[in-house]
C-alpha cells in the first residue's frame, strides 16, 4: 500500500505542477489528436472526485461510536482522500485538455480553471500533511471547508459551461427562447429592449425596482414608476424617459446615474425615434422597408463594427503541394488569406505567357475564385478554359485580345466582377454574359461599346454597375514643353537636336529672342545648325492640345582656346572652382549648383582675367561670357563689363564698356550669356573685367548689400 501511495502522491504532484504551468501558458498549447480524446473524458471522470470527496466528508463526520477501530477508520479515510486528490488532479488536467477544443466563455472558463486548480492543490496539501493536520482540528476543518467550497464553485462553473446559465431553475423561470430575427420580431424586441436590458434593467427589475419602475416586462414598463408613464407617444422631448437621459451627468435625476454605463448617442437617438413614431410594442421589423432609417439603425445597433465578414466556401482547400507546383515566376497562385480555401491567380509579363500554365490551373478549378489575366495574349479560344473555373468571382481580362467569345463564360454563375477594359468586346458579345446572376460590376472602358449601348445595358440591368468611360473631360489641355537632347557646350558644327515626348507633336523655334507659336518661328524638321552662342526658344503643338509653354535655352558654342589664361584677381575663397582653368574647360555649371567646380564666384573683388592667344591669333567675331543669375542667392549680372585688348600684354587698351541691365524683381535661377560682338578682331591678348553689383536694388530683401558675380565659361567665337 505504501508503495502505491508513494507512486500516487508523486503522480499527483506531477499533475499539479503541470496544471499550474498550463494555467499560465495554456493558450499557447497545441493539442495532438490522441490527447483530445482524453480531454473528452473529463465529463465522465469529474464525478469521481465529487463523489469521493463527499464520501471523505462523510467518513470524517462519522460519529465516533461507529463500530470500527479508530485506526482502521483513519486509514480508510486516508485512502479515500488519496483517491479524491488523484481523481481531482486528473479531472482538472483532462478538463484543461477539453477546454482547448471548444469555444467556451472565457471569463467563466477562467474561473472554472482557477477554482479547479485551487481545489486540486488543496486536496494535495491536505493529503501530504494529513497526519499533522489531523492534530490541529481548527486548521484541519478550515481547510476541509475551503475544499468543499472550491468543489461547489468549480462544480457550479463547470455545469454552467456545459448546460448554460440557470440550468437547474430553467424549467421554472419563464423565458422565450425564440430566436430574434428581422422577420419575426418587433422593433421593440430588436431595437429598444436590448438597449434597456444593457443600460436600465440592472436597477429597474422585479427585485430592485428603483423609483418603483420595473422595465423588464412590457406591462410594468407601460405602467411606469412613481411618476406614472415614462413617455408621451410621439413626443420624446416631453417624455421623462428621454428627459432624464439628457440631464447633466452630475444631476441627481440623471439616468443612468453617474458611474453606470451611459447611453451612446446612437442609442438615445434610437429611443427618441421609437417614441416619436408612437412607442409601438407590436410593430414588426419586417413591416418596415429595408431603406427605412429605423430599420437601418436597428441593424447597425445589432452588428458589431469589429466583425470582419469573411465569405464561407463549401469547397475544400487545394493541397499545398498542388499550389506550389502551379506557382511560377510568371503565374502566382495563392490563397486569399491565411486558412482560406479560395485561391487567386495572377499572370505577369506578357512575353512570358504560357498557355499551359493557364490550362494547368484546372487542378484547382474548384478553388479558383479570382483570376487576373490583364495584358496577357488571351484570345477568344482560351475563354473556354476560363469558363471551366466554375467558382470564379472576379475576372480581369483587361487589354487581352478577346473580342466576341464571351459566351464561353456563361458557366461562371458565381462571377461578380468582370473587367474587359481595352479589349475589342462589343455589345452583342456582352449580351451573352449580362444575365449572369451574380454579376454586379462590369468594366468596359476603352472598348467598342458606345455610350448609348452602355445606357441601354444600364436600363436593362439596373443592379449592374457598369464603368464605361469615367474621363469625359475632352477639353484640350496644355502640351508639355519640347526639350534639348544634346545638352552642354556645342562643338563647332555640332547641331542642336530638339525632341518632344508626345508622338505626333510639332516643334517651332526661334533664335532671335522672339517667342515662337504655331505660325511664328521655324518648323523644326531636322537638327539645327548654329554658328555661335544663341538663345533658343521653342514650343510644341498638336491637334487637340493647347500649345506648350515656351522652352528657352542658351546654346553655347565652343570657341578658340587661349594659350594662356590668367586670373588677375582672386575669387571668393568659397567659390574658387579650379581657378583660371575653369573658364575654358567647356564645362558648364548648373544654374542652382553654384558650389560646383565649374563656377568662380566674386563679391569683394572684381573679376579680372587675361586670355593670351599668341601672335597667330584667330579672328574673333564675338566673346561670350556665361554667367549665373539667381536673385534668391544674391547672384546678379555684373554691373559693368570692360573689354581690354592689344597685341602685347603690356600694351592693351579699353575696347568696350558694357553696362548690363539688372533684374527688376525676383527671378528663378538660370545661366545667362553676355555676348560682346567684335568686328573680326585678332588681338593676341584680351583682358576682361567684370564688376559685381555694389548695391543690391531696393526691391531686393538684401537691398544695399553687395551682390555676387558668378562666371563659368568665356567663349571666343
Amino acid at each position: 500500500m505504501s508503495r502505491i501511495k508513494n507512486i500516487l502522491v508523486s503522480l499527483i504532484f506531477c499533475i499539479q505542477v503541470l496544471l499550474t504551468f498550463f494555467l499560465f501558458v495554456g493558450d499557447k498549447v497545441k493539442l495532438p489528436v490522441w490527447l483530445q480524446v482524453m480531454g473528452r473524458l473529463h465529463p465522465l471522470i469529474l464525478h469521481l472526485p465529487i463523489g469521493l470527496s463527499l464520501f471523505f466528508l462523510i467518513l470524517l463526520l462519522l460519529p465516533q461510536r461507529i463500530d470500527l477501530e479508530r485506526e482502521t477508520l483513519s486509514r480508510i479515510t486516508f485512502i479515500v482522500l488519496l483517491f479524491t486528490s488523484f481523481t481531482a488532479s486528473l479531472t482538472a488536467l483532462f478538463g484543461f485538455l477539453l477546454s482547448l477544443q471548444g469555444d467556451y466563455g472565457s471569463t467563466l472558463l477562467m474561473r472554472h480553471k482557477i477554482s479547479s486548480t485551487i481545489l486540486s492543490w488543496l486536496c494535495y496539501l491536505v493529503l501530504i500533511n494529513y497526519e499533522n493536520l489531523r492534530n490541529r482540528k481548527v486548521f484541519f476543518y478550515g481547510t476541509i471547508s475551503l475544499m468543499m467550497l472550491a468543489i461547489l464553485f468549480s462544480g457550479h462553473t463547470g455545469a454552467t459551461l456545459t448546460h448554460g446559465e440557470n440550468f437547474v431553475f430553467g424549467p421554472i423561470v419563464k423565458e422565450s427562447n425564440q430566436l430574434l430575427t428581422v422577420e419575426n420580431s418587433s422593433v421593440y424586441q430588436l431595437g429598444v429592449q436590448p438597449i434597456l436590458e444593457k443600460k436600465c434593467y440592472s436597477c429597474h427589475n422585479d427585485s430592485k425596482a428603483k423609483g418603483k419602475l420595473v422595465m423588464t416586462t412590457i406591462k410594468q414598463f407601460v405602467k411606469g414608476g412613481k411618476h406614472g408613464k415614462e413617455w408621451v407617444e410621439g413626443k420624446p422631448e416631453e417624455s421623462n424617459l428621454i428627459k432624464v437621459i439628457h440631464l447633466p451627468l452630475t444631476h441627481d435625476k440623471h439616468m443612468p446615474p453617474d458611474g453606470k454605463a451611459q447611453l451612446s448617442g446612437a442609442e438615445v437617438h434610437f429611443l427618441e425615434t421609437w417614441i416619436r413614431s408612437g412607442a409601438d410594442f407590436e410593430k414588426k421589423m419586417a413591416e418596415l422597408k429595408p431603406t427605412d432609417s429605423f430599420r437601418i439603425m436597428t441593424s447597425q445597433l445589432l452588428v458589431k463594427p469589429e466583425q470582419v465578414i469573411e465569405k464561407k466556401y463549401s469547397f475544400n482547400p487545394a493541397p499545398d503541394k498542388v499550389i506550389n507546383n502551379l506557382n511560377s515566376p510568371f503565374c502566382s497562385l495563392f490563397p486569399l488569406y491565411e486558412n482560406s480555401p479560395a485561391l487567386r491567380a495572377d499572370f505577369f509579363v506578357q512575353q512570358a505567357f504560357n498557355l499551359k500554365t493557364l490550362e494547368m490551373l484546372k487542378e484547382v478549378e474548384d478553388q479558383l475564385v479570382e483570376l487576373n489575366l490583364a495584358h496577357m495574349p488571351i484570345t477568344d479560344e482560351e475563354l473556354s478554359i476560363i469558363g471551366k473555373f466554375k467558382n470564379l468571382e472576379k475576372l480581369n481580362l483587361n487589354f487581352t485580345k478577346i473580342s466576341s467569345g464571351l459566351k464561353e463564360l456563361k458557366p461562371l454563375t458565381q462571377l461578380t466582377s468582370l473587367s474587359l477594359s481595352g479589349t475589342k468586346v462589343n455589345a452583342q458579345s456582352l449580351s451573352d454574359i449580362l444575365p449572369l446572376p451574380q454579376l454586379t460590376e462590369l468594366f468596359v472602358w476603352n472598348t467598342p461599346i458606345t455610350n448609348n449601348e452602355q445606357l441601354a445595358i444600364n436600363q436593362q440591368y439596373p443592379n449592374l454597375s457598369i464603368v464605361w468611360n469615367l474621363f469625359r473631360d475632352d477639353q484640350p489641355i496644355v502640351l508639355s514643353k519640347p526639350s534639348l537632347v544634346n545638352e552642354g557646350v556645342f562643338k563647332k558644327n555640332e547641331r542642336v537636336i530638339l525632341k518632344h515626348v508626345m508622338p505626333g507633336a510639332t516643334i517651332r523655334y526661334t533664335m532671335d529672342n522672339t517667342s515662337p507659336d504655331s505660325v511664328h518661328g521655324k518648323l523644326y524638321e531636322s537638327p539645327i545648325k548654329i554658328e555661335s552662342t544663341v538663345y533658343l526658344k521653342a514650343c510644341a503643338y498638336k491637334e487637340g492640345w493647347l500649345q506648350s509653354d515656351i522652352y528657352q535655352v542658351m546654346c553655347f558654342v565652343d570657341g578658340y582656346k587661349a594659350k594662356e589664361i590668367e586670373l588677375l584677381t582672386k575669387p571668393d575663397p568659397q567659390y574658387v572652382g579650379e581657378g583660371a582653368k575653369s573658364l575654358m574647360d567647356s564645362r558648364k555649371g548648373l544654374a542652382d549648383q553654384f558650389k560646383e567646380a565649374s563656377w568662380l564666384g566674386f563679391k569683394e573683388n572684381e573679376f579680372e582675367a587675361g586670355f593670351y592667344f599668341g601672335q597667330e591669333a584667330p579672328a574673333v567675331k564675338n566673346i561670350v561670357i556665361s554667367y549665373g543669375r539667381n536673385t534668391g542667392s544674391y547672384i546678379f549680372p555684373p554691373a559693368q563689363v570692360e573689354l581690354w585688348a592689344g597685341n602685347e600684354k603690356q600694351k592693351i587698351s579699353l575696347i568696350k564698356t558694357i553696362n548690363v541691365a539688372q533684374p527688376k524683381s525676383n527671378e528663378s535661377a538660370k545661366v545667362d550669356a553676355l555676348i560682346i560682338p567684335l568686328v573680326e578682331a585678332n588681338y593676341a591678348y584680351y583682358k576682361i573685367i567684370a564688376k559685381p553689383i555694389k548695391k543690391l536694388p531696393a526691391w531686393h530683401s538684401g537691398k544695399g548689400q553687395k551682390g555676387w558675380f558668378f562666371v563659368d565659361e568665356v567663349f571666343f567665337n
Binding site: 499533522n132 469589429e306 470582419v308 469573411e310 495572377d346 512575353q351 460590376e441 468611360n469 489641355i477
Partner: protein
C-alpha cells in the same frame, strides 16, 4: 508533541528536494512538449510567415502619393472661413494652449491668423469642401475618404516624415512598404514588392533620403527599390553591349554557386538575399521594358494624367508609372513629390505645386477605377503634418506663409476598402485642434495594415530582444473609415 512532528516534516533532505524538483521540472517539460514553438529560436519567426493576409483583405496593393514638405490643409481640404474673418488678429492663447513651436516662429511676437487666399466650394454627392487649387481632385471627391483629423508627434520635417513612413521618429525602423513586403511578399516575382519614385515640384523643397524606404532590421530584400528619374527607369538593368541573356544566365548560375559556398562558410543571411536579388534583377530584365514603355498608352490616358506624364521624372509620369507597377502586382508603390514647404510665398508656390499633382492624381484614381482595380488598390495622398493657421513672418496684403503644425492635418485615401465620399474627423473653427475623431499616425498605420488584411499587432519582427511592429506599442484601427 504535534509541533515536533510538524518540524520533522520540514526537514526535507537534499535528495528528497532534488527528487521533487526533478519531478516538477519533468512535468513542465512534459507540458512544454505540447507547445510546439515554446523554446524555439525566433529566427524562425520570419520563416513561419505564410506571406498571406491574416484575414480577408480589402486592398491588395497600395499607391502612396506622399506630398513631401507638408501641403497646407487650410488651402486644400480643411475650409475655415473664420480665419478669413479674423485675418490679422492674434491666435488666441486658449486655442494654441501651449503647443510647442518650431525654431522658425518661436521668436515671433505675434501670431496673426490668416485665411485661405484660395476659394473653396463643395463638390460631389458627398459635398466635400475642396479649394480651387485642386479642380481635378474635386471631381473625384465621391471616391475619396478625406481624413481631416490626422495628428502626429513630430514638428520638423525629418522626424515627421520618418514617423509617417516607419512608425518611429528615429530612422532605424522598416518603412511601411518594407513591412508589407515582409508580411505579404511580392505578388509578381519579377518585380520588387516595394518601389519608390521621386519627383520635385517648383515650391520650397525638403529632401528625401533612402532611410525613408529602408528595410530597417528586416531582411534587405524588403528594401524599397528607387526608380531613376531618367529615361532609363532602373539604372544598369540592361545587359551591357555584347553580352546576351544566355551569357548572363550562365554568369549568374556560377556566381550563385560561389555565393553559396560563401554562405556555407559564413552563414550570413545577407548572402542569400544577394543571390535572390540577382535572380530578381535577371527576371526584371524581361518585366521592366514592358512596364517602362509608355508609348502604347492611348492619347486619352495621356490627357487624364496630363502631358507631363511622358516627361520622365515628373510627378505625372510617376503616377502613370505607379499605375503600371501596381497593375503588374507591385505591393507598395511609394511616390514622393517634393516642394510643399511653404513657410513664405504660399500664394505664389502652392498653385504651382497643386498644378503638378492635381490632374495626375485624379487621373490615377480614375484610371484605376476604369480598369476595375480601384477596389483592390488603396491610394493615399498626403504629407507629414499640417501647417499653422497663423502667418509665419510678416503678413502682407497678398502673400503669407505657414509654419509646421502637428496637431491636425488632412490626408485622403481612395479605393481599397475605404468608405468613398466620406469626410472623417473635424478640426475646430480655427483649424488648429481636432474636435472629433482624431486619427494618430499609429492609427493610420493600423488601419492601412487592416485594409491589407493584416492585424497590426500580429505583424511583428523580433530584433534586439523584443518584437517590433509598424505601430510599435500603439495604434487602433479606425473602423469609421472602412467601407
Amino acid at each position: 508533541m504535534g509541533n515536533e512532528f510538524l518540524e520533522n516534516r520540514f526537514h526535507v533532505n537534499r535528495r528528497h528536494f532534488l527528487g521533487k524538483l526533478s519531478m516538477g521540472l519533468g512535468s513542465v517539460a512534459l507540458g512544454s512538449l505540447l507547445i510546439p514553438d515554446l523554446f524555439k529560436n525566433d529566427e524562425n519567426d520570419a520563416a513561419a510567415f505564410s506571406g498571406l493576409s491574416h484575414f480577408a483583405p480589402k486592398a491588395k496593393r497600395i499607391i502612396y502619393l506622399f506630398q513631401n514638405g507638408a501641403p497646407s490643409q487650410l488651402e486644400s481640404f480643411d475650409y475655415k472661413p473664420l480665419l478669413n474673418q479674423m485675418a490679422g488678429q492674434d491666435l488666441p492663447e486658449s486655442i494654441r494652449n501651449g503647443q510647442r513651436l518650431t525654431g522658425m516662429t518661436s521668436n515671433q511676437a505675434k501670431f496673426p491668423l490668416v485665411g485661405s487666399h484660395f476659394s473653396f466650394k463643395q463638390y460631389g454627392q458627398s459635398g466635400t469642401w475642396v479649394s480651387e487649387l485642386f479642380p481635378n481632385m474635386a471631381k473625384i471627391v465621391d471616391e475619396m475618404c478625406v481624413i481631416k483629423s490626422m495628428h502626429t508627434d513630430a514638428i520638423n520635417h525629418d522626424p515627421a516624415l520618418t514617423f509617417m513612413q516607419t512608425g518611429a521618429q528615429q530612422g532605424n525602423r522598416p518603412s511601411m512598404g518594407a513591412w508589407l513586403s515582409y508580411g505579404l511578399g511580392s505578388e509578381n516575382k519579377n518585380l520588387p514588392a516595394f518601389c519608390v519614385l521621386l519627383s520635385r515640384g517648383r515650391g520650397n523643397g525638403q529632401g528625401v533620403y533612402s532611410k525613408l524606404w529602408t528595410n530597417g532590421f528586416l531582411d534587405s530584400i524588403h528594401q524599397g527599390v528607387q526608380f531613376s528619374s531618367s529615361e532609363e527607369r532602373i539604372l544598369y538593368l540592361q545587359d551591357p553591349k555584347g553580352r546576351d541573356r544566355e551569357a548572363s544566365r550562365k554568369m549568374l548560375d556560377h556566381l550563385s554557386e560561389l555565393n553559396n559556398l560563401n554562405y556555407e562558410e559564413f552563414g550570413d543571411p545577407e548572402i542569400q538575399t544577394r543571390i535572390k536579388q540577382y535572380e530578381m534583377a535577371y527576371r526584371m530584365q524581361t518585366a521592366v521594358p514592358e512596364l517602362s514603355d509608355l508609348t502604347k498608352e492611348p492619347d486619352r490616358i495621356i490627357k487624364m494624367y496630363g502631358a507631363d506624364c511622358l516627361v520622365p521624372g515628373t510627378y505625372a509620369s510617376n503616377c502613370l508609372m505607379a499605375r503600371k507597377l501596381s497593375e503588374a502586382g507591385v505591393r507598395f508603390v511609394q511616390l514622393y513629390h517634393q516642394g510643399w514647404d511653404q513657410h513664405g510665398n504660399l500664394v505664389g508656390e502652392m498653385p504651382l505645386q497643386a498644378q503638378d499633382v492635381d490632374r495626375a492624381t485624379a487621373g490615377l484614381v480614375m484610371d484605376l477605377k476604369q480598369r476595375g482595380l480601384l477596389d483592390e488598390t488603396l491610394v493615399i495622398w498626403g504629407g507629414e503634418f499640417g501647417r499653422t493657421n497663423y502667418c509665419q513672418g510678416d503678413l502682407s496684403k497678398d502673400n503669407y506663409g505657414r509654419d509646421h503644425h502637428p496637431r491636425c492635418y488632412s490626408i485622403w485615401m481612395a479605393g481599397g476598402g475605404v468608405k468613398p465620399g466620406l469626410v472623417y474627423g473635424e478640426s475646430d473653427e480655427f483649424g488648429y485642434n481636432i474636435v472629433k475623431d482624431p486619427v494618430h499616425v499609429n492609427d493610420f498605420h493600423a488601419t492601412v495594415l487592416h485594409l491589407m488584411g493584416l492585424n497590426h499587432e500580429k505583424l511583428t519582427f523580433k530584433h534586439l530582444g523584443r518584437r517590433y511592429r509598424l505601430t510599435d506599442v500603439a495604434g487602433k484601427v479606425v473602423h469609421g473609415v472602412l467601407a
